[in-house]
Amino acid sequence: MQMNRRQFFKVCSAGLGGSSIAMMGFSPNAALAEVRTFKLARATETRNICPYCSVSCGVLIYSTGDKSKNSQSEIIHIEGDPDNPVNRGTLCPKGAGLRDMVQSANRLKWPEVREPGSKEWKRISWNEAIERIAAHMKADRDKNFQAQNKDGVTINRWPTIGALVSSAASNEAGYLTVKTLRALGVTQLDTQARI
């Protein structure tokens, strides 16, 4: 009978193993061999778009709960949206790690102010923040607003303020930002597209 090394070992070990178990009089409990439960089974799926580069990959965001009234949604996983014709479910290392961006330890949670000369941040309420910023803005606008240039042309410009608008904001937020800033007379505004 021809037998290679592996078969020989198999026969040896199977035969002996069986006999040894009988000899020992007891056998190991069947250890469960189940895979980790599929964690998205009942998670809530929302379609969104990756906020990084301009490929605008479709993403599926999975969160806990079912959006019922008393449950807070917590994002547990983000992966590519296979329906999206551009990324077709794939994601790059940035996109695949989006969950850690959403849950970054450096997310801001409340308004803060650092007062002139101070070494620290101070937590303030939204009301206080908006009131203090608006007071600064109005005082500056009223003081420095230019209605006309030296040639008498109406220019209605607020020259002492500048703004940078986020390229990661949605079109809607961006539009609203432009609309309000222009209404205030801001001409010094720019966005990441420049740089």
Binding site: L16, G17, S20, I21, M24, F26
Partner: protein, 206 residues
């Protein structure tokens, strides 16, 4: 069994304690080691609180045993020097095993077989300790090939060692009147005269 004041002192208390410390350690090591060696023995890990505990304990028991084995080695090594009589005894060991010890040469405290066993165990113990270190991942990290080599050596030597201990134990059972030497430290003069006549003479002057 009646204890007789004239029984011969074979082991003092500390020697006996040393022996049993090593012996118990060995039993624990064998039981846990076998569990890792062959699936059939894996349930033995239950004796140690499960597989993980067995894995954690085994090497520490090993170190413990190695330490006490060294003590034992130092105690007994001078008694285990091989002599011509031992060699002759070994040459005729088959007669002995057949239960026919009439023509065996006179033996001192230990016969040739016991001395042989002593040295073999010492060798095994060294091999087991060194190879055990190679595969003790929780404490040491060695190149993978060394670990693989260590695993083979550890397994093979351990099997040999277990077999030897089985022979050692069997010999003690088979030779009636022996085990008490490790319990109370004494043997009967008859036992000594029968099995270790040279030692008997030395002890009794007869």
């Amino acid at each position: 069994m009646i204890r007789d004041p004239k029984d011969l002192k074979r082991y003092d208390a500390s020697e006996r304690a040393n022996h049993w410390v090593v012996g118990i350690s060995f039993i624990l090591l064998a039981l846990s080691g076998l569990a890792f060696f062959h699936p059939a023995f894996f349930p033995l890990t239950q004796l140690f609180g499960g597989g993980t505990w067995a894995r954690i304990l085994h090497p520490y028991i090993g170190v413990f045993m190695a330490f006490f084995f060294v003590l034992m080695f130092l105690r007994f090594k001078h008694l285990n020097k091989m002599t011509d009589a031992d060699r002759e005894w070994l040459g005729r060991a088959k007669e002995m095993m057949d239960g026919n010890d009439h023509n065996m040469p006179e033996q001192g405290k230990y016969n040739g077989g016991q001395k042989m066993m002593f040295w073999c165990m010492t060798l095994c113990m060294v091999l087991l300790t060194v190879s055990g270190i190679f595969i003790w991942r929780a404490q040491f990290s060695v190149p993978v090939d060394l670990a693989r080599f260590g695993a083979v050596i550890h397994a093979a030597v351990a099997a040999i060692m277990i077999a030897m201990i089985m022979v050692h134990v069997y010999a003690a059972i088979w030779t009636k009147g022996t085990i008490r030497a490790m319990w109370y430290g004494t043997v009967t003069r008859a036992w000594a005269k029968q099995h270790h006549r040279a030692w008997y003479r030395q002890m009794t002057g007869k």
